[in-house]
Amino acid sequence: MTEHKESAEPFRVVVFADFVCPYSFLAVDQIDRLAREYDVKPLWRPHWLHPETPPEGTPCARSPDKVERLRAWIKDMAPEHYERVRIPEKRQYSFHAFEALEFAYDRGLDSDFKTALYDLMWTEGRDIGDPETLLIAAERVGINPEELALALYQRTYAERTLAAVKQAHDIGITNTPTIFLGRTRINGWTYYEVLQSVMEQQGVHAREALACN
């Protein structure tokens, strides 16, 4: 991992997000790219936007007008996703997905799992409140789905997940994604070039640039 030039500690990148947030979905490619280009290991943490949502989900709060505006926003800000994004018709339950992310973390596959699950929800129209969707994501990234199913059934990671949700609340996370790049906190989605600028300002340089020096 990249070492921050001012200390021997690895440069920390932490993303507080919720799978049900479209802006978090749009940040996935950016953060994955950041990990590749800057040799950092981002940590994805849960910020549970809608704890009131039941496991079966609720009808979508977005009116047709809001959906149209969201799609227009995506077309302008992240055009590469415009054609493939599918806006869910209902608000989905994300807590089991957070539990599964903890399970994946313990196996060193949290980054891949997160990307697979966002794709399933936002490009394939799957419901992340349905455990079957979590098992598909697990299988895609090399996690044993039967082990995950058992962990979800036994609620092995429920307490740890709740603690993570509480941590996000305690440090004042209010929107998603909230991205910490070293000392800098970025509230909400932003351009990849901004992430680059923040990295560079803190003395963290892309692999390619380092290779040229």
Binding site: E68, W73, K75, D76, M77, W189, Y191, Y192, E193, V194
Partner: protein
Amino acid sequence: MQQCYLVDSANAPWKRSSTEGVTFACQVLLSGEDGGPEALRFRFDDCPSVYAHMHLTAQFQLLLNGAMDFPRGVKHLEALAIHYTDHNMPYGPFAVSAGHDMLVLHPKAGGIISMANLEARRQINLGGRLFAGLAADSERRPLPDADHGTFKFLMPPGFGPAAVIVNSPAHAALTMPAPEFGRYEVVLEGSAIIQGREIGPPGFRYVRSDEPVEPIVTGDAGASIAFLSFDKDALEGGITGEGLAAEAAEAMARAI
């Protein structure tokens, strides 16, 4: 340094134009070509997505009519509303509807640059401030040291730049602090006597001075006036004639 500009917006010519497929009518109220302030009035046709962009100077947008919807962050603005950004602070995309009518007020020429421009993204003001609020959300208070009249904050006191609406009956002199970094004084209702001229809505005065300036006096029917004061961010940015600034100036010239 003292600057003073008086603008009778109601009698300025309108022009139809478009930028990046977004159509609108526009008044150029102050061009900024003399190094002074730049003020524009836009009436966007209903549009689901006015592209994300930024200006290279601080900006007040005063929404006089209609609505602006930001899918994330700022959310829904309905007239009367304020939207403030520091220089190089991007915003949008946003939807406009319901008879949109807005003043765009800069302390100097700021151009416009689409956020599709990758170089622009690298020049975003990372510490920049953005504020948006509805007049309807703010409580009206009695005007201090006056028998009649009220005021309300459009922006929280202490934010830096300031926006206040003062309502006052006829023939009241509205004394304000020195406009060190520049201030727009916009007539929203009624009329005001400024330097011997009667100005109706949405006419305005722009003043910048280290000393207090001649107060605005409300007309026969009283007036509602928005005082929009810049802070030191007004000194930043601007059109330098090079690189991104040249592009921003050209883009603004094409648009209006």
